[in-house]
Symmetry: C2
Subunit: 391 residues, 2 copies
């Protein structure tokens, strides 16, 4: 591919910091770079308790353990999401109740959540699709009323905010009881594979640290809070190596620079594609009043499934790798027999019609112009075809 | 500490390969370096199916999913092991039946396994302590007779072998249905945090690949075996990043060099400490006929718990970090109420008396001499103290 969908970006210090970690004599988890990364997030976003993980999947699995999912408990989440959002809770025995997406956005339709809550409901998991906030005021209200946990799958949502109706602004990941981030290579800030759990609920913090360290109180031991450590709970090896943390920290130091470039790319797509989108009957992303734009992704919602396929094929012939995204989880081979039969038409619509355009730090102006020019060419071809058919 | 217990070692190509991975445009999991690492293990050890993981813990968790642990199933394993050996199976709902260690070695006492097998038993997990093989002929015989799975916790056991009575020699990790390796910074071959699952049972291979890729058939898709991929099963993000795999591959290229140095260190301890061990009533490690020595660890078994404490303290004053190891899991805060009450005296003995000496690639001759000299000084002090007490 001449223009890939994604391309990881080295800010310059990653391998230097990895060498530092080796020289410091510690490349397993929970060393200096892990602590510095935690501190970065605390300072910038006011997160109370941060724990780097080997993936966002692992942060979601920690969440499922922390909210104490028991077999038969129910968890509510959108169907239009990554498999890990669901698998993390299914591994603990949860039954998933999938919810449809909004008309104007692939995020969970907040108005469809409450009707699914019953005495077995343990948690609502929201996914901030494309880094754009769900209506967290509505979600937190429902959760409080019914006394269920809220887990934010903020995999795509670093450096994104939600504004409450009283004007308070909070970073995504800091609003629910738990927040889960990803540093997978396709994200704004990367570490190959990587993630982070943010623990906002004070009552869950001590246990989070134990679960993170394989079910032991090793962290407390190293802080000097206890004089020996041992096996206290279930848990796993959720913590990433210092190699991963060192790489991540180099990226975090360049967050502003990365975000500035990504916002530039996002805006250029958004201005440049307005006209052709109208011509093709496509929808462009919209940012609600209460949300900010972290420029994680640029997507189009096609007029039809056929148009999605045709445009993806057309761009592929031009050596541009645009891609579709999730497939409705309630219709997957694994889940379709378990689903309760409700139709989730918006989730299916985004599965069949959404296209993500190439988006990465090193995407140049000429490349972006080439992508947009080819979407215009596709449109002209379509329009002349329609004229021909009408004639 | 002047002499740490462990010190990670860069062979020289690690950061170069990490930069290569970035330049190849792929730093998430299952890229070129992951495939090259898998191939290395296949070529060197004849492993059929290898899957790098983010830790040995994760390889054990994959094993628990693959042998299809259901709540109430029983799993037999030594009490003298790391918490992850047990937690991986407890996360799937297993009840653990802990077994004592051998008199002559901290590994599982094979003769105590069969009496614990019943209709609920799903698997036997053996731990090749210090990289020295358990009697796999005995274990596989029991497993076959009772139709239970065998999982090898080969965390410490890279480049170590077992010889069957008919003369056949097999690498550890290739004998049970599943084998789990660690590349944690304390191991012979390191990647910070990291591990690998080896799938020896053909019937488990296809599912292993799906569980590894978050419950999707993405690996088959990328091979071109299926034309689209989706959600097929439970699973997690078990695969490590290419950053981790690149680091690991640089280490693997230097396996022979690393092993030669480690064998030298091991032998030097073994020869140099014979006399003083006899004086102190300590035991040195012994390698059974059927096993090989991969020079993972050098340990002493003290005469008493007091001696362990005194020697550790003495060495600490000399700025030498020697350390004890596992604490019997059946006596942990988490498990003691769940244990069936059997005494496991050898496990307790190793918990209370075993000392691991500093052991890493860059441990110099002068440092090793200094360590051994101080163990001798400790002995002289002990002996003169005894004389004084007798007098």
């Amino acid at each position: 591919m001449k223009i890939p969908f994604n391309k990881p970006f080295l800010t310059g210090k990653e391998t230097e910091y990895i060498e530092d970690a080796v020289m410091f004599g510690k490349i397993s988890g929970n060393g200096d770079f892990t602590k510095k990364s935690h501190q970065f997030f605390k300072d910038r976003y006011g997160f109370k308790k941060c724990l780097l993980t080997t993936s966002c999947t692992d942060a979601l699995e920690m969440s499922a353990i922390l909210v104490d999912i028991q077999p038969g408990d129910e968890v509510i989440m959108p169907s239009y999401t990554f498999v890990s959002t669901a698998n993390a809770f299914i591994l603990r025995g949860a039954n998933i109740r999938f919810v449809d997406s909004r008309q104007d956005h692939p995020g969970i339709d907040e108005d469809l959540v409450e009707e699914l809550i019953n005495s077995k409901t343990k948690a609502i998991v929201v996914v901030h699709y494309a880094g754009v906030a769900c209506d967290m005021e509505k979600i937190m209200g429902i959760a409080e009323q019914h006394n269920v946990y809220v887990v934010e799958d903020a995999a795509q949502a670093i450096e994104s905010y939600f504004t409450f109706s009283d004007g308070t602004r909070k970073p995504l990941g800091a609003i629910g009881h738990l927040g889960c981030f990803s540093f997978h290579e396709t994200k704004n800030i990367i570490a190959g594979e990587g993630g982070m759990l943010v623990v906002n609920d004070d009552a869950l913090q001590a246990r989070a640290e134990i679960i993170w360290e394989k079910g032991t109180n090793r962290s407390a031991f190293f802080r000097g809070d206890v004089d020996k450590y041992g096996w206290k709970d279930i848990g796993s090896s959720f913590l990433p190596s210092e190699l991963t943390a060192a790489f991540l920290y180099a990226q975090l130091e360049n967050l502003e620079k990365i975000q500035a470039k990504r916002r530039f790319i996002w805006k250029k797509y958004h201005i440049g594609l307005r006209l052709v989108a109208d011509q093709l009957g496509m929808r462009l992303p919209e940012i609600p009043e209460y949300a900010t734009n972290n420029a994680h992704m640029y997507y189009l919602v096609c007029e039809s499934r056929e148009q999605q396929k045709q445009l993806l094929d057309y761009l592929k012939r031009k050596k541009i790798l645009a891609v579709f995204h999730y497939l409705s989880l309630h219709k997957s081979d694994f889940f379709k027999q378990k689903h309760d039969g409700r139709e989730l038409p918006m989730s299916d619509l985004y599965s069949n019609r959404l296209i993500r355009l190439p988006f990465y730090f090193e995407l140049g102006v000429a490349q972006q112009n080439y992508i947009m020019k080819n979407i215009n060419r596709f449109s002209e071809k379509e329009i002349s075809l329609q004229k021909f058919q009408i004639a």
